[in-house]
Symmetry: C2
Subunit: 221 residues, 2 copies
């Protein structure tokens, strides 16, 4: 009576439980790996009995695949700027920033993806590869077009993409190492901003100094 459709209440509970299980699984798989993370631990993190996890996701493998599927969608949404701007500098700045921001706001996603690829990558191979390759091809041809127009240096566009993914996801995947360097503390907001600026500068300018007042090369071989 309180609801027009009796089913919609149940559907809502179902959606909520599903979401919580996936979120808990992302965290557990990120910290323990697929084999190391137990369904019991996922259930505890989701606040449900273990049997309920199996009710929503009959197998651990299936739950894991679902988690990865969601992560690929995040990877894609991070690149939306490719569709809304045609300026390479604007796209690089925005894409790198968004990727690194996500490395701090949703680090588990990046970690699970990394572990999947590092290991044998069965789910990637069987269920995600085709979608990923199609998406990657589109982004790479955008870079290639800019290179042909002389708006990007003549660098291999695929390797540039690899470098963006590597440098930005590093802040999520190697969080423990970075925290150790930072005296055991996670990076502050200001330090996060510094990381973003450093990576952007690397891509836009490299690390060699610019000779502002010297039109001829002043560094001998």
């Amino acid at each position: 009576m309180s609801s027009a459709k009796p089913e919609s209440k149940k559907a809502q509970v179902r959606a909520e439980n599903t979401r919580r299980i996936i979120s808990a699984a992302e965290k557990v798989f990120a910290e323990k790996g697929f084999s190391g993370g137990t369904t019991q631990e996922i259930a505890d993190a989701a606040g449900l009995p273990k049997a309920n996890v199996h009710y929503y996701f009959p197998t651990k493998e299936g739950l894991y695949a679902r988690v990865l599927d969601d992560i690929l969608e995040e990877w894609k949404s991070d690149a939306e700027i490719f569709d809304t701007s045609d300026d390479p500098e604007v796209v690089f700045r925005a894409y790198i920033r968004r990727k690194i921001e996500h490395s701090f706001t949703r680090p588990y996603a990046s970690k699970v993806w990394a572990m999947e690829i590092i290991g044998r990558g069965h789910v990637f191979e069987d269920q995600l590869k085709a979608s990923f390759l199609k998406w990657n091809r589109k982004k790479v041809s955008q870079l290639r077009k800019w290179i042909e127009q002389g708006r990007l240096a003549p660098v291999d566009p695929q390797h540039v993409m690899y470098a963006i993914w590597a440098t930005t996801q590093h802040y999520a995947d190697f969080e423990h190492q970075i925290r150790a360097v930072n005296n055991g503390k996670p990076l502050s907001r200001a330090q996060t901003e510094k990381a973003i600026e450093s990576v952007i500068q690397l891509f836009l300018q490299g690390v060699m100094p610019r000779q502002e007042s010297a039109p001829i090369r002043s560094w001998p071989e």
Copy 2:
């Protein structure tokens, strides 16, 4: 009689078995993670019965720690150029090249390290951190010195190190993803060379085009 010291023969067998077990463990842990990789699988890969693996390494955890210890030594030896050259361009070229070469010749090492750091990183925290931090500090101060001398652009040296590690180790850690992009085939020697050149160019010059004939800045803020 064929050997002066009777013990040395046994010591030799011991050294050989130890080496084979560590090498097998590196491979198995890289492909399956710490929890997913079984001692049985490691024993099979080493060509020994499982009980013998336990004879040399009483616990799986201890074997894993030993594998990681060896990998940190490799990371350090990759940076030897920092001690033999004082030219930033030479050092960057050599360090990046050597790191990427190792990503192709010994990919399992990089994968095990990555998984350890991505997960909770207990062994890193307990046994490797101090040695790693000391080594890192030394390399970073070398970069900082060059920046003060104006021989490197004023970029944060620690983030430059992160970027080098990320981009070079990516070719080992994300090998499956890269192979998928490359039509399922591992990179050829020529493609490997292309990867090395691309990453070196990224660090030395960035991706923005150079205006060779324009001595004054032509890019407005």
